[in-house]
Amino acid sequence: MIHGPAITEAIATAGFTHVVWIPDSHLGTWNEALDAAPGLTLIRPCREGEAVGIAAGLMLGGAKPLVMIQCTGFFEAGDAVRNVVHDLGLPLKLLIGVRSARAAKDGKSKDSCPTFIEPVVTAWKIPILRFDPFTGTENAVLVHLNTLGTLPSAAALLWAE
């Protein structure tokens, strides 16, 4: 299981300067580590579409933000994502917590989130990376965040919860 300090180090190592996030019950466990991370600025918006708008401004100003939200928030943020990625052409980077992903994989969840997240991200023509923090290593999370950070286009890392 990957914990807050490891993910925070991976985010900073990948060159991200700001984390714009709304926590869920999994991502929220990283709060203390993110707050304490040197070189990373944590920004707390009220809604996920707003997080995407803030990230757009950060990118226009030369910063390198990472938007961290749950999949439910990604569903809400659709128009902001469309605008930033396709109208503005900015390389928006997202880490999306996929609620119930592990339970769904085992056939033990009726949550619709895992069913829809990949089709919806794909519909916005955003490349997908996947990571399971329960089976992945700290080195693997470093590699995944670095890949996310260096891709020239927008991209989303789907984080199994």
Binding site: I43, E50, V52, G53, A56, G57, L60, G61, L88, L90
Partner: protein, 187 residues
């Protein structure tokens, strides 16, 4: 009330080296008032995202003033952005163009038209510098102060709505706008 040109002219006269983000109806007349590389005509837009975009710009460029000219319909789609903005000591000046209408879609009334207390909303969100301006002479006298100093700042302008206006277009393609803005911000 004032007209849209009467609302925009004092912004152009007092924009200094601020980035000016325009949306919706303000996009059309703005280039005649200002054609700075620090202008960003946010169109095509995602309604409600101009204030967050302005906040992001200000956070990326500490000390740089940002003016966001937003319509009331756009702000209503994302009122939480005022709460987010209030958390940050940044020189972001939100200028609300309150005409009570979705002007570019034909002039339908927005929710709460004529009743919503936007100054109250901004203050309750935690923004301490809030201006409420009804007339052009008052705005001419206030703009210099309201568009300078510490932020965030919220400025509520009451505007005469217009009907039959076409959806405005940006003065140049988005990619060109972004390249121009980023060059100006790094020079």
């Amino acid at each position: 009330m004032m007209t849209l040109p009467e609302a925009l002219a004092p912004i152009a006269a007092n924009r200094w080296d601020h980035v000016v983000v325009t949306t919706m109806s303000a996009v059309g007349p703005w280039p005649a008032l200002s054609d700075s590389p620090l202008d960003f005509a946010y169109i095509p837009s995602s309604m409600g995202q101009a204030v967050p975009l302005g906040l992001g710009l200000a956070l990326a460029k500490p000390g740089r003033g940002v003016v966001v000219v937003s319509g009331d319909g756009s702000l209503l789609m994302n009122l939480g952005c005022l709460v987010t903005l209030a958390q940050h000591d940044v020189p972001v000046h939100v200028v609300l163009i309150d005409n009570g209408l979705y002007e570019v879609t034909g002039g339908q009334a927005v929710a709460g038209a004529g009743k919503t207390d936007y100054a109250g909303l901004a203050k309750a969100s935690g923004i301490s510098r809030v201006y409420s301006v009804d007339t052009a002479p008052e705005w001419n006298d206030t703009a210099g102060i309201a568009l300078s100093g510490i932020g965030p700042v919220f400025i509520w302008l009451k505007i005469q709505g217009e009907f039959g206006k076409e959806t405005p277009s940006a003065p140049r393609p988005m990619a060109e706008q972004i390249a121009r803005l980023q060059k100006a911000l790094t020079s």
